[in-house]
């Protein structure tokens, strides 16, 4: 069930657009912020609020890499592995995440603390390698720095 606040916020977003479906992506973001992911029930509810068929809602939400359709850990690590980050050492960082936390791409740690998604370019090529943890940007990553940064996310 979506909370009252979420439903209200979706209504507010709806008023910024000339048609209902244009507010679908922002509405999905609101729900994902509340629940951490988009469950089939949540997708159905969003569709009902915006009067968009549920097959369409699912088709749209699964098209986009940043919408999540299964539960994730408390913190989401989005590590860039595209060319600039790759040549500056992102592969080594992936190994560190595996060794230290048992974390594989698209996986979650046993304690539910971290989930990992490998990203295409996140626009930090000049300070590569880089990652997002939740909505925080971290760049110029080294073996030491990534461990220190992650220790601050409990």
């Amino acid at each position: 069930m979506l909370s009252e606040n979420t439903v209200k916020e979706i209504g507010l977003i709806r008023s910024k657009y000339h048609d209902a479906q244009s507010s679908l992506l922002p509405a999905l973001y609101v729900v994902q912020r509340e629940h951490g992911w988009l469950s089939p029930e949540a997708l159905k509810e969003v569709g009902e609020i915006l009067n968009v068929p549920k097959a369409e809602v699912k088709g749209v939400s699964t098209f986009y890499a940043m919408f999540r359709h299964k539960p994730i850990g408390r913190h989401l690590i989005q590590l860039c592995t595209n060319v600039a980050c790759m040549i500056m050492g992102s592969e080594n960082l992936l190994n560190i995440l595996k060794d230290r936390y048992g974390l594989e791409p698209n996986g979650t740690t046993v304690d539910g603390r971290f989930s990992l998604v490998v990203m295409e370019c996140i626009g930090a090529c000049g300070t590569a390698p880089a990652m997002l943890v939740d909505t925080d940007f971290h760049d110029n990553l080294t073996e030491k720095r990534i461990t220190e940064i992650l220790e601050s996310y409990k």
């Binding site: 940043m66 790759m86 909505t135």
Partner: protein, 420 residues
């Protein structure tokens, strides 16, 4: 060169509207409102500015097409879906100079008689989202946005719309589909967005950097603007430099600066003084150049004559130690991931290209694989709605054109190992 797009960004409060106004901001808007909308379109046309998103289409011409279509309402969209690997040039504008973009959008909206605008911002820039939202709110408070801008009877409503991690949405018709709440799949053209864009209405889509140039064009006038940089391709240009250089970062330089100058002068040369092997000059979809081909003027008109393209001005530098087969494989893997799935040649073909490159890079390639890769890529080129498939094909073909020996070496070493 005096900084225009990155003006004042050393100021830690540069994103605040009062600091922007103190540094001369929103003066161009006041000046623009003294003219008729058609005069602004004419001025932008005369300035010769070309769109900074990658294709280099003349901005004034795009505006004139939309202005000539009587359908209303019209829309002005800002493409802030900066997703081309290697590109991070729009980030300093979005995060440090958001009012320059907003002022550019208000002037554009006035010129086009568009009353609604959206900034389509990539999902991977959460910090920029907060900054832009705050800046838009400030602009409303000061009367620069709303139903009666500065009491002049001009209306523009602006909001920030966040994408959700799809490279294809940087393509303008896919961006429109996405803004309409659909899967981000490109439309066939024509009709072009200037006639049938967002909600089937005339729509102008400009890149962040393009819109950020507009206040300056109005401020100094088309003739003075046209004198900056290259003839036929004027203005200041942002270059994002990454990879093996001493000082990676975003540089604002005149259009037409040489690639060598960007790498060896502005970016300080190759990291650890190693030897340069190759450069991708304009983001991952532009043709790679070998080290001896970097004496070329970086603009939309000249780069094709030198075997590549300006693209987004994202200079990716590779030193002598880099395994280019692996880079090529990674680049094609990216295109496979980002193919929207609409056109068969791209959806299937880029996957096949990735499979061939995966085996070559992994040491299990066979003698015919390079030619097979070229053949598959030829069957994608020109057969799709949008340029994503073409970009993948061109990337692989140019890696092979300049560095075929590296691919052959991988294949030979692999077969020697298998025989042993």
């Amino acid at each position: 060169m005096e900084k225009i797009l990155l003006r004042n960004i050393e100021n830690p409060d540069s994103a605040d509207i009062n600091e922007y106004i103190k540094a001369g901001g929103y003066k161009a808007l006041l000046k623009a409102l003294e003219f008729k909308p058609a005069d602004i379109v004419g001025e932008v046309r005369k300035s010769g500015i070309r769109g900074r998103g990658g294709a280099g289409f003349p901005t004034g011409m795009k505006w004139a097409f939309a202005s000539a279509d009587p359908k209303k309402p019209r829309y002005i969209l800002c493409n802030a879906d900066e997703g081309e690997p290697g590109t991070f040039k729009d980030r300093p504008i979005l995060e440090k100079n958001p009012h320059l973009l907003i002022e550019g959008m208000i002037i554009s909206g006035y010129a086009l008689e568009a009353e609604y605008g959206y900034i389509y911002l990539r999902g991977e820039y959460p910090a920029a989202k907060g900054i832009l939202n705050a800046a838009v709110e400030q602009a409303y408070e000061k009367g620069y946005l709303g139903d009666n801008i500065l009491g002049k009877g001009v209306r523009l409503h602006l909001s920030v719309h966040q994408g959700a991690g799809a490279y294809i949405c940087g393509e303008e018709t896919a961006l429109i589909e996405s803004l309409e709440g659909k899967r981000g799949q490109p439309r066939i053209k024509p009709p072009f967005p200037v006639n049938e864009g967002f909600l089937s209405k005339p729509t102008v889509i400009n890149n962040v950097e393009t819109l950020a140039n507009i206040p300056y064009i109005i401020e100094i006038g088309a003739d003075a603007y046209a004198a900056i940089g290259s003839p036929d391709c004027p203005g200041p240009k942002l270059f994002s430099v990454s990879g093996h250089v001493k000082r990676p970062g975003v540089y604002e330089l005149p259009m037409g600066v040489s690639l060598r100058d960007i790498i060896y002068n502005h970016s300080g040369g190759i990291l650890d003084d190693k030897k340069l092997k190759a450069v991708i000059p304009g983001g991952i979809s532009t043709p790679i150049l070998p080290a001896d081909a970097i004496d070329c003027p970086m603009d939309f008109v000249n780069m094709p004559k030198h075997g590549s393209m300006l693209g987004s001005g994202a200079v990716m530098v590779f030193d002598e130690t880099v395994d280019l087969v692996k880079i090529c494989y990674r680049a094609i893997k990216f295109f496979e991931h980002e193919s929207c799935g609409k056109c068969t040649p791209c959806r299937e073909g880029v996957g096949w290209m990735r499979a061939i490159l995966e085996r070559i890079s992994g040491g299990s390639g066979t003698a015919g694989d390079i030619d097979l890769l070229i053949e598959v890529s030829n069957n994608i080129t020109g057969k799709t709605f949008c340029p994503l498939g073409d970009g993948a094909a061109m990337t692989a073909q140019n890696f092979i054109k300049h560095f075929r020996n590296e691919f052959e070496k991988k294949i030979n070493n692999g077969s020697v190992k298998r025989a042993a």
